[in-house]
Symmetry: C2
Subunit: 220 residues, 2 copies
């Protein structure tokens, strides 16, 4: 659809890079995903494009770099407006940004606390994570997607993190489906979309990757 040069500095298991991939796919923008070796040496393009954080994802659009996944998704929305990911009215946009921000502040870090913990801390982390999920389930309510009938901004930011839920369940000994059936149904619904399914990593592979991280952190 686009003749622009669009490069995404990517890492297969990164939920943050997946946000950018889903947003680009929803907009029908062709792009080249370049895998970074985050456990090895970072590419020169990554270090040059993201000197502050030196992290994926980075979107390089016609030579200009955009960093931080939520900002990348906003940039994609501003650059390729159709189909829109945010509602047209200011209040709807503010509501979407509020839940996007809640997801950014809580969901990944909350889940990571489960597998980064040991002993009794695991139970505390699990309870906190389920609380976070229940707040999100309340925001979803009876709607199909966070914004209503159409897949949008909050869904794009949240759905990639759900690929890590299987790992959280294994280390926390619980089932998201039992705790939050609406979130569970929303995940299944989102996974029917090609934009989501095509880059969504196999949850068992994410679990293996988490096992590797735990070894590196001396937790196993």
């Amino acid at each position: 659809m686009s003749k622009d040069e669009v490069i995404l500095l990517d890492f297969w298991v990164s939920p943050f890079a997946l946000r950018a991939k889903i947003a680009l796919a929803e907009k029908g923008v062709e792009f080249e995903a370049r895998q970074e070796d985050l456990l090895g040496e970072k590419s020169e393009l990554l270090l040059k494009s993201n000197p502050i954080y030196k992290k994926v994802p980075v979107l390089v659009h016609n030579g200009k770099a955009v960093n931080e996944s939520t900002i990348i998704v906003s940039y994609i929305e501003d650059t390729w407006p159709t189909p829109s990911l945010l509602p047209p009215c200011a209040y709807g946009r503010a509501t979407a940004r509020f839940w996007a921000d809640y997801v950014d502040k809580k969901l990944f870090d909350g889940g990571s606390k489960i597998w980064r913990s040991k002993g009794e801390e695991v139970e505390v982390a699990k309870k906190e994570f389920i609380e976070i999920l229940k707040v999100l389930e309340g925001a979803l309510g009876e709607k199909e997607y966070f914004g209503g009938d159409s897949f949008g901004f909050v869904d794009i930011l949240a759905i990639p993190i759900t690929a890590w839920f299987y790992a959280y369940e294994q280390y926390g000994n619980f089932k998201v489906e039992d705790e939050c059936p609406k979130i569970s149904a929303w995940i299944k619904k989102c996974l029917e979309r090609e934009s989501v399914a095509s880059g969504y990593p196999e949850p068992t592979k994410v679990y293996e990757f988490v096992g590797l991280l735990r070894k590196m952190l001396g937790l196993e």
Copy 2:
């Protein structure tokens, strides 16, 4: 300028509430600031309007509540577009959002670490804070404001936190002016604006307030 009902749930020393006040003033929007007693009992309107965080600021516009200061400033920009706080091009907007996010993640928490620390930790916190400031000084460069020639989004998010710098200097035993002269000049420039100066708390009063917080936290 506006016949809308605009209420801001405010707290005099909150840099986050000041962001909303500056943005509204820049847009020429009349509003009623209602002081919350954050050390006492929170108002019913606050608890109802911000059930997730129960914090100021909350912007209540014609009965609809918007939470989280950066989202409030975005909402103000979307609702009252003139004069614009964000540049028109997608890349300029992404750059502004990147630095806004950097300020949100680093500046207030980095400064708070100085007065929340004891003994040798103070020196570590001070060094980290100066590093953060130097990164911002690099982003500012030779420009008058973060976005260039006109006062905008990043300035509005960052300038309120500078009212706390005097307290950071007192507890950290350093001078921002010595470390980051460009940031210091930018603060002076911003304070010439009525929108900033009118709600900017007296830095010595902020210092007294921090002293109170330190007592409450058992640090003095």
